[in-house]
């Protein structure tokens, strides 16, 4: 029996090791390739040049025009997902009949399971034409359509995790609030949402993380044209869309054009890394609070 336990233990340790090694490997590749890249391109240029044209003869390496595309589409997505996701979370935890929650939650989570390529085409072939009836000047590929659809995709992340956080608020606080003569609405917004705020913030950060890393929807519907703009009606290119573009193209391995994707990837990685750490930090504080 001892041996069996040893084998199981070893197996578990091995699985954990693989995960850690993969992460280290990814960071290593990103860093080493980026280092070579930054030998040719100064960090100052990378961070300040307003143009990103590594594939043209007149080369510019300003990440900002990709970063702005990422930030623009992600902001639109959050602007869509946050109010809807939070409303759903509050409705499910406070208003919906008991059984309702058990059915609706998994159904909502299906939204997150739809292949992103489907969302991409939905944005391109349904949402964009519809938006064109409202904004005739909208570009065929645009940040708005991709952002909205990405927002729909991340609704369940926000609604589900926020609902968990609201649900976890001790019943004694609900009693206290109702006992003071609060209405349901007051209980939800003055007691439960503040008490669950850390959990809700974590859900939002994870959703932002997800939006920043999303690739297929933006590659299909937002375009592939680096553009330092905050106008949602224009064509933009996100960091992820650029990486796909180069990976699928015929850029020779080992060239500086090829290495741009690692520098871009590193930027993305740093971004999501910081966000995940913030959420980790908030979650830890939150756990302390309810001991």
């Amino acid at each position: 029996m001892k041996i069996r336990e040893k084998i199981i233990e070893g197996g578990l340790a091995f699985s954990a090791l693989i995960t850690v090694l993969t992460t280290i490997g990814i960071i290593w590749v990103l860093l080493s390739q980026s280092l070579v890249f930054f030998k040719d391109v100064s960090i100052v240029e990378f961070l300040t040049n307003p143009e990103w044209t590594p594939l043209f003869t007149n080369k510019n390496y300003g990440i900002l025009s990709l970063l702005s595309g990422t930030i623009l589409t992600s902001s639109i997505a959050i602007a869509v997902a946050l109010p809807i996701g939070l409303t759903i979370a509050i409705y499910l935890s406070e208003y919906a009949p008991k059984g309702f929650r058990t059915y609706v939650k998994p159904m909502l989570e299906i939204l997150a399971a739809v292949p992103t390529v489907v969302y991409g085409f939905f944005a391109l072939t349904i949402v964009t034409p519809y938006l064109k009836t409202i904004f005739p000047e909208i570009a065929p590929f645009n940040a708005l359509s991709a952002g909205i659809v990405m927002g729909i995709m991340i609704i369940p992340m926000i609604s589900s995790l926020s609902e968990d956080a609201l649900f976890a608020v001790p019943k004694t606080l609900r009693d206290a609030s109702y006992g003071m003569g609060s209405t349901r609405y007051q209980t939800a917004f003055k007691v439960l949402v503040p008490a669950a705020s850390s959990g809700i913030i974590v859900s939002i950060i994870l959703a932002i993380s997800r939006a920043i890393g999303e690739t297929m929807i933006v590659a299909i519907a937002a375009g592939q044209q680096p553009n330092m703009t905050m106008n949602p009606l224009e064509t933009v290119e996100t960091i992820t869309a650029y990486i796909v573009q180069v990976s699928l193209g015929d850029v020779p391995h080992g060239s500086i054009e090829y290495r741009t994707i690692f520098a871009a990837g590193l930027t993305l990685f740093i971004f999501t890394f910081i966000l995940n750490n913030i959420s980790f930090y908030i979650r830890r504080k939150y756990q302390e609070r309810y001991e």
Binding site: D175, A176, Y178, M180, G181
Partner: protein, 274 residues
Amino acid sequence: MENTSQKNINNEDQSMSQDTTEKSKVILESKKANVYYGDMHAIKNVNIKMRENSVTAFIGPSGCGKSTFLRTFNRMNDYIDIFRKEGEFYINGKEIYQKDVKVEELRKTVGMVFQKPNPFPKSIYENVAFGLRIQGIKNKSVLDEAVEKSLKQAAIWDEVKDNLKKSALALSGGQQQRICIARALAVEPKVLLMDEPASALDPISTAKIEELIYQLKENYTIVIVTHNMQQAGRVSDRTAFFYIGELIEFGKTKNIFTNPKEELTERYITGRFG
């Protein structure tokens, strides 16, 4: 749970106040009250009258329905799906389950303090101001005044007056419970329902809460559920003994404890069961 540090509240005082409460008006009343949880008959045909500025203790073995009955008076059972009631419940002569009664208004008249201290994860100030804020009161001086007054009434002002911005969760359990009492008092209810308010507290905090209850009855009508016989004896004017959903005996606390009419009551208070 024996609490020897508590000084004995003057018996003379108590009997005097009983004489005055005898004539004062009825604030809480139930007529043929029955409560069911699904098929379970939790309260059986209870008729009771509680008078203004009195303290009534509900005692009885665990599961006999004390909390259930207490909570019918601020309709906190309404949230339980399988809860059903029959009979009539009056606050100040008004039947509180009638359609035209707004539950929110009722609960401003009938405040509640729970077994486990349950302050909001907010500052001390915001906890006490909560009830006024949800009524839409924003005026700072009105809030300041109410917060100070309630904290003084709850005998905790001196301990927290310099730290009103501090989180209420950072206080001790006994202090938290007094914050909860202050929070309930801030909206100036007529009735205060207390469900084992001291059962989670140490003897010194318990003594403070008991003293507080004794002072509060000047202005409020109080109903307290307790498992502590000494406590019931010290703080209440009248005692109601419940047994498996029935009100077995209700009378002056002194009589219930020295000369109970029912054998069940006697067996319970002498600790021979439950």
